[in-house]
Structures are given as C-alpha cells and as structure tokens.
C-alpha cells in the first residue's frame, strides 16, 4: 500500500517556535508520506515535535510558530501556501482533526448535535433536514445512539468515551480524506480506550480513510498503525512497518522505547533495556540528537548529522551504525522483586464503607471493603476510573472518614480524619499524588519542599538531609536550589516521592503516580520504586489502571469495580486463570504490542447502573448468569492459594471461560504473513 500515490506528504519540514528574542527549532527536516487507507503512527516522548507536525498538517499556524522550510502536499496543493480562505475550505472537509481532550474540545454550552451541524453547515451540506439526517448517520457510525434526543444533549451529559465519539463523528462529518488524531485516547481509562481504538480500526476498514495517529503510547500503535514514524528531538529517527518496529527496532532510541513498554505477558520483571536520561533540548550535540543517551554512541555520533537512510524493505533509519548494532542488546534486567511473605500485618482495613453526600444524593463510593497489607508489601489496587481506588487511599490517609468500618495501622485503630491522628501516625503514612505539577508548591524551592517534613516530624533538617533525600531518588544535589517549574514531570515526581520518603514512612500511598508521565520516564520511576521496595522495605498501596505496571511491581493485587472488591490475591494468581469476569475484561483490554486486534465492531458503551443488592458488575458482565447476578450478592470463591473471587460462577467455570492470555505468534514470519 506504500506504492500508491500518497494522500498527504510532508517534505523536508522544519518548524521553529519563538522563544524570547530568538527562535527554537522544534522540527528539523522531517519527511514522510501517508498512503490512501493507511494509518501512520507518530510516536515520541513529550516535546519531540510530534504535535507540532500534526498541527502543521492541519495548516494551523499559531503566531509564535514559524515554518522555516518544507512543504505539505495534499491533493495537489501545498498546505503551507494556502491562505486563510483556502484553509477554511480544506479543513473540516478534506482534513479533519480529533483532539486529545474531548472535554475541552467540545463547547460546553452547545448541544452536541448542533456542534456537528455547524461543521456540516459551514461546508454547505444541504438544508437542516439533510444535516440532521447526516448527524444521525454519523452517530450511528461511531456507535452512539442515533436518536434525536441524544443530539439535544450537552457535552457534560455524556461520558468521556461518548464525548470522544462525538469528536470523531465531527471529524468524519464531511467524509475527509485524511484525519489527524492527536492522542485521542490518552485521557480515557483502559476499557474506554479499547473501545475507541476498536471503533477507529472499524472505521478505517469501512471508510478507507487515511489517518495520522499521534501518541506517546507505542503499545497502542501496535494495534492500529500500519507504519510508525519515531521522532526524537524534532527529527524523524526511524520509519518502519509496525510489526517490524516491535520485533526488530533498528535505531537505538526505538530499541529503548520498545524496551520501556511494560509488557503484561513479560514475567521477567523490568524491561530489558530501559532508556536512560531525558531529552534535554538545550544540550543537544550538533550530530545525532540521541547521542548523549545512546549506549552505542561514538565520538563521531556527536559530530556527524544522521539522515534517514533505507534499511531494508520499506524501512528507514537515521543511524549510521544500525547494521552494527542490530544484534540484540545485552539484557540489563533486574529480576522481579521476590515476593514477600507478609507474616506481620501493617495496615488492616475492616468492612470499610465510604459514602459521599447524604440522604437521597448519597453515593456509595466503597462498599464493605476488607483487606490487609503486610509490612514491606506492595499492594496494588486496580480498576477503571470511578471504581473507588483513590477513595480507599484517601480514607487510609485520613482525608475522608469512612462511614463504617475501621482502618488499623500496626494493630492500632486510626481515627477517621487526619487532624485527629497523632503526629506519629501521620508520619508513618505518606501520600504521593498523581499529578506532580500540583503536588509541589510552585513558589518553594525543592530544598524547602524536602526539608519541611524533616523539620516538622523530627525537628531538625540540614543541607545534608536534603542532599541525601535527593540522592535516594537519584537526583543530582543541584536540584535543591531549583523551583518546581524548572524540573520535568518525571523529576518532579521523583521529588514528590523523596518528600514522602524523608518522613521515613512505613506505608507509601501511590495514587496513579505514573499515569501523567511518558513511557520512558515511567520505566525509570518504576525502577526507582522497585529498588526502594527492596532496599527500604516500605509497604506501598499502589493505585494504577496500568496492569502491566502492576504486574511488575505488586506482590498482591486487588481488583475493584464500583466500590466493591471483585478479586483479590497474590499477583501471579490474579494474573492467571481463574479470573473474575471483570479482571478478564481488563486484561483483554490492555494494549500490548502485537496482540491481535480486538475483533469487534463499534459497540455502544454499556451503561448499566449497579444494583444495590446484587453484583456490582452485573449489567456489564459478559458472562452474566441471569437474574441472580442482579439480585443476590455473589459469594466469595476461594482457591487453595488464597485467591478470592466474588462471583456466582464456580471457580471451575471461571477457569474454563478464561481465554486470556492471547499469546502472540512467536514467529516473525507468521506475523508478516498475517499482515
């Protein structure tokens, strides 16, 4: 399909952004083409210029952006030469855009139907009756209810997944030849993400449109992209067909990226060869931009510019040493931490319920939760958004008082709210938040952020303590004098972890602490946590929706759904049959490199309301038995190994139904034949 005349081609594009008095080159001489019906994935860490290219392909030119060279050829014209009126005719009609965050992309004050109608009207798609019919068609196409009253809804009345479907419908409104998708699933949880990806795959097959899929999630691209372009520091370093990119990455950076993906099937622990260091734009050498982080770099790499050159059929790589380094790199892996036999219980949660609001508006966030965490144990809480994972962490921390039940630390019961706890109790439980941007005071230097807990809890703090705290999270001592906005997201998260550690806690609550970070940064923080776990013996309550991460780090896993425990047990038991139906669906939804595409059409999100008496998962369960699931709370099913599953099905039945893991084909030849 690459031989065909491309739909759109980017030729030698260079783009700069205004920075202070000068300009900073963010995209440097990038060329690629997208064939009809092809999905081209563009991947790289934040700041590599991938979104800039996406914006340029839409002809979007913010005032601070300057196009230095190049052309974007689309339907015989150069998009960069078009004036405003010309762009207006192309955009929305021939080239469309699906944004990252549907919540902010949709106008909250306009009904969703009207927002699509606007586009149709702007591109002259007939009178209002024709347009409404078209809108209904589009909603059907993207798996939304094609009903008139649905068109009259406002964006806030839709779920995140439904909003993104509206955005996709909007992009498809005028049958574009080319669609740009900028991280369209990044803000969504795993199950919704899977549904959106399945929808896009389905749409591509039905409509034969070309797409540019921009993301930092390489695992996701394996499901949807035909070819992938890997960008680093504004340059394209490798272009390859998707399957080959994953099995045989040629550029050292691509190898690092592929190696950084936590794989759920991978049972050997940490990724074989994670990337080291960070992209630092101010210290790029004049040769290969990746040279400072490259394990194979020689002196010449720092001086000689690397250009894309052919490397096998339909592949290009910008590294002159690729034939030499194509041997698999030596594994630097650390084996998975040994499972800890938790003889002693640290945190005991007994029959805890948390209720938000009161009276008729009362919402049960957690229903009758009992679990315990041992000393030094890493306990993972898994579930989609709204499952109550964060609520449990907040209850343990004392930010919300449980309505019922008790939480005990080392055998002593804790009072509900943090202000009633003793300083010692507060010191022993430390919280690390999801978003490192908000968890550090922007007006306090790093040294102050780290020394305050020391002063508070131990009444003393010195420069040496701060330096030691930074060294613990592998940060240079010079960071102490910095303000948070001078740090990258990953560095800030390290500081946030260090702030928790200086209090010498026995339990660290980690609430989605990796989800705001790039995959390569995630891998390094994960390695840090792994090491802390072994060296310090701190227990962790690790909340995550990323099952691959959980599998690497956790000793025990608890799967939550709508405030109820579905399954709880040791890691290896949770990740192998028998599964709770919900765990099974979560595992199947994980985007993993080279997992066969989910063979599903566009499905409407099931929107069952949980019944107060029955199983929380009833209504969404694929293995539902019948009425009993709605009316009766399922019993605990226990295996001999301590795995507990809450389901009406027997364990034998659950084992029989399990189809996961879908082992990918092991032979590269087979996979090529599949394509």
């Amino acid at each position: 399909m690459i031989d065909a005349e491309p739909v759109i081609s980017v030729e030698g594009l260079s783009v700069s952004y205004r920075q202070g008095a000068g300009f900073l080159r963010v995209v440097e001489d990038v060329s690629f083409a997208v064939a009809p019906g092809e999905v081209f994935g563009l991947v790289g860490e934040s700041g590599c210029g991938k979104s800039t290219i996406a914006l340029q392909m839409l002809g979007y030119r913010p005032p601070a952006m300057r196009t230095d060279a190049g052309a974007i050829k689309f339907e015989g014209r150069d998009l960069l030469d078009l004036d405003r009126a010309g762009l207006d005719r192309v955009r929305g009609a021939r080239i469309a855009f699906v944004p990252q965050n549907p919540t902010t992309a949709l106008n909250p004050g306009i009904r969703v139907g009207d927002q699509i109608d606007e586009i149709l009207a702007a591109h002259g798609a007939g009178d209002s009756r024709v347009r409404v019919a078209r809108t209904l068609d589009l909603f059907g196409l993207v798996g939304l209810p094609a009903k008139l009253d649905f068109l009259r809804r406002y964006p806030h009345q839709l779920s995140g997944g439904q909003q993104q479907r509206v955005c996709i419908a909007m992009a498809l409104a005028c049958d574009p030849a080319f669609v740009v998708l900028d991280e369209p699933t990044t803000g969504l949880d795993v199950t919704t993400q899977e549904q959106i990806v399945a929808l896009l795959i389905d749409l591509r097959a039905r409509l034969r449109m070309s797409m540019l899929y921009v993301t930092h999630d390489l695992g996701l691209l394996s499901q949807i992209a035909d070819r992938v372009g890997v960008m680093y520091a504004g340059r394209m370093v490798e272009i390859a067909p998707t399957a080959e990119l994953f099995t045989d990455p040629k550029h050292p950076y691509t190898r690092g990226l592929v190696g950084s993906i936590p794989r759920i099937e991978d049972r050997s622990g940490l990724p074989a060869r994670p990337l080291r260091g960070l992209l630092q734009r101010h210290e790029l050498p004049k040769g290969c931009p990746f040279a400072p982080r490259c394990d194979w770099a020689t002196q010449e790499c720092f001086e000689v510019r690397q250009e894309l050159e052919p490397a096998g059929a339909a592949r290009e790589v910008a590294c002159w040493r690729w034939p030499e380094i194509s041997v698999p790199p030596d594994a630097r892996a650390v084996s998975q931490a040994p499972e800890i036999d938790h003889a002693e219980t640290l945190l005991a949660i007994d029959n805890v319920s948390v209720i938000y609001g009161s009276g008729r508006n009362a919402f049960v966030a957690l229903r009758d939760i009992s679990l315990d965490i041992g000393k030094g144990e890493t306990f993972a809480l898994v579930g989609e958004s709204g499952s109550g994972k964060s609520t449990l962490a907040r209850a343990v921390a004392g930010l919300i008082a449980p309505a019922e039940g008790t939480i005990g630390l080392s055998g002593k019961p804790l009072t509900g709210l943090v202000r009633n706890r003793t300083p010692e109790e507060r010191r022993l439980i430390q919280f690390v938040f999801q978003n490192p941007d908000a968890s550090l005071n922007p007006r306090a230097r790093i040294a102050k952020a780290l020394s305050r807990p020391l002063e508070f809890f131990f009444g003393r703090s010195s420069e040496a303590n701060v330096q030691a705290a930074l060294a613990d999270v592998r940060l240079d001592g010079k960071y102490a004098a910095r303000f948070p906005d001078e740090l990258s997201g990953g560095e800030r998260q390290r500081v946030a972890i260090a702030r928790g550690l200086v209090a010498e806690p026995s339990l660290l609550l980690c609430d989605e602490i990796l989800s705001a970070l790039d995959v390569s940064v995630q891998a390094s923080i994960l390695a840090l946590l792994q090491r802390l776990k072994i060296e310090r013996g701190i227990a962790m309550l690790f909340i995550s929706h990323d099952l691959a991460v959980v599998r690497m780090l956790a000793d025990r896993v608890c799967v939550l759904f709508r405030g109820d425990i579905m399954e709880i047990g040791r890691r290896d038991e949770v990740f192998s049959a028998p599964f709770h139906p919900y765990t099974h669906s979560l595992l199947e939804a994980v985007p993993t490199p080279l997992k066969p595409h989910p063979q599903r059409g566009a499905s409407v999100e099931a929107a069952g309301t949980p019944s107060a008496t029955g199983c929380a998962y009833a209504g969404r369960c694929a293995w539902q038995i019948g009425e009993i699931c709605e009316t009766e709370r399922p019993p605990w099913r226990e295996t001999g190994e301590g795995l507990r599953i809450r389901c009406h099905h027997s364990l034998e039945e659950l084992t029989r139904r399990a189809t996961w893991p879908n082992e990918p084909p092991t032979d590269t030849q087979d996979r090529r034949a599949m394509q």
């Binding site: 507060r426 550090l440 592998r474 960071y479």
Partner: protein, 300 residues
C-alpha cells in the same frame, strides 16, 4: 537496572536578572512612566522640607491672593502662606498615610481572606457575609461612620486616618485573597501539608501566601493609588487632619472659596494629588501586566 542519577541541567534562575537596562526595556510603558512619576513624588516627599522656599505655616510670604508668580508658582492663600511650599511639605504626609493605611489594610485583609478561604465551611460563610456588609457601604460613608464612632477627641489624629484607610480597604483585599486561597487550597501540595498535620497558620504562611503574592502586590498598589483620594476627601470634608497641617485635600477645602479669584491655589494641590494617583495607577497597571494579571482600573 543501573542506578542512574539525573544530573541537573542548567536552570534559568541563575540568568534571570542579568542586565538591568535590558530588563527596563522589557517593562510596559505604563510601568515606566508610573515609576518615574512615583520616584519624583517620593524624592519631593523625602527632600522637600529641606528645599521648600517657605515653611508650611509661615505667614506673610507674599500678598494674599496674589495669584501665580515666579516666587509663588501655586500662588498665596488668604493668610499669605505660599501654597507651593505647603504642597511640598504635605507630600510626605499624604504618601506616608496612604501607604501605611493601605499596608495595614493589606495585612489584615490578607490574613482574614486566606484564613477564610482555607478553612471554609461556616467560618468562611460568617466572615464573608460580614465583609460583604462592610463592602456594601460606600467607602466614604464607611470612613465617616468610623470617624464619627471614634469620637471627637480622636478627630484629626493621623493614626485614626491610617486605621480608617485600613478599615475601608481590608474587606476588599480580603475578598481577593480569599478567592486565591480557595483556588490554591484544593491543590495537592496543600493536601500534602494537611496530611502532615500542619496548622492552618503554617499552611497559610508556607503554601498559600507565596502563591498569592502577585495578586496581593497588585491589590496593594491598586488600593494605594486611591488612598490619597480618600484621605484628601476626608480632609476636604473636614474629617481628616486638622489645620494648619498642609494636607492636600484640606488645602483644597480651605481655598475652595477662592477658586474664582485665584484658581491656582486649588489647582496646585489638586495637580499634586492627581499626578500621584495617576502615577500610582500607571505603575499598578504595568506591574499587573508584568505579573501576568489584568486589573480593572477605575473608581472603586
């Protein structure tokens, strides 16, 4: 995995304040003009008493009501006092009272606002309703009520003027501070401090105040810009300082009967007052732009 330490890339804080002239060129024009006007006023206030041609209550310096002349640029009043000298002598009084009154209002308002916004709940409700009640009274009326309540023996006392200015401004500043506090209080770094068990006072000082400084700075400059008008108005109405203090509003009041005969005796002090207020406002507007905020300037 190799235990790799991240080395610190060069930060930008080291190079932030390199060259003063280039920094000056980057400031908005309004900031520059405002700053120049302010510096002139401050110089006059500080050095004025040493070079003013006559004393502030020296009588018989010239023929009363003789109008503008080279010796008496702002004319001479009924008692033969040189208006220009009086304006110069009064400068430091006006500036000192304005700044100290506003500053007191800022301190009280910031503490009240940050506390109210951080603590929330019914305490916040009570404080807010109380402040709203104060704000709903026009500021001059509020000032007059306060002076009347203080009684005749305190009338004309500079300390009372400072307290009145603070009373008028504190509720308005408190509302600004509260809105900032409500925003910041939900951020995770404040939650971290709460989880640590920090007292409300400590959270306010360490987490809220540093993040509210730019708002408070602009608020201070904005209020200080109108304080001379308030003090002048009180003086004009006879509730401010007592004669023969060379307070500008008082002087305008004393000479207002002569506005037909020698307009300059009123225009002189008026010009001084106006240039100070305009200077402060331009400065504030520029400052706000530097700090990335927009303020609505206008009569409060």
């Amino acid at each position: 995995m190799s235990a790799e330490t991240l080395s610190a890339p060069p930060g930008r804080s080291t190079s932030r304040w390199t060259s003063l002239p280039s920094l000056w060129r980057q400031t908005p024009l309004s900031f520059r003009i405002g700053l120049i006007v302010l510096v002139i006023h401050l110089l006059v206030a500080v050095t004025g008493p040493f070079w003013a041609p006559y004393g502030f209550s020296q009588m018989g310096t010239g023929r009363p009501l003789s109008g503008m002349s080279r010796v008496h640029p702002f004319g001479v009043d009924q008692l033969g006092r040189d208006i220009f000298s009086r304006v110069v002598h009064g400068s430091h009084i006006v500036i000192l009272l304005s700044l100290s009154g506003t500053f007191l209002g800022l301190v009280v308002g910031a503490v009240l606002g940050l506390f109210s916004g951080y603590v929330g709940g019914w305490i916040d409700e009570i404080i807010q309703r109380f402040l709203e009640a104060l704000i709903s009274i026009p500021f001059l009326v509020l000032a007059l009520i306060a002076i009347a309540a203080a009684g005749p023996e305190l009338s004309g006392n500079p300390v009372l003027i400072v307290l009145v200015v603070a009373l008028v401004y504190a509720p308005r500043i408190a509302r600004m501070a509260r809105s900032v506090a409500v925003d910041i209080a939900t951020r995770d770094h404040v939650t971290v401090a709460r989880l640590r068990g920090e007292s409300a006072w400590s959270v306010m000082r360490r987490e809220l105040l540093p993040n509210a400084t730019s708002v408070l700075l602009v608020e201070f400059a904005l209020r200080a810009g109108y304080a001379p008008v308030l003090i002048g108005s009180l003086g004009f109405l006879g509730f401010g300082l007592r004669p023969p203090t060379p307070e500008w509003g008082l002087m305008i009041s004393e000479n207002r009967a002569l506005i037909i005969v020698t307009p300059i005796t009123v225009l002189g002090p008026g010009l001084a007052l106006a240039s100070l207020v305009v200077g402060l406002n331009l400065f504030t507007e520029g400052l706000a732009r530097i700090l990335g905020r927009t303020v609505k300037l206008g009569v409060q």
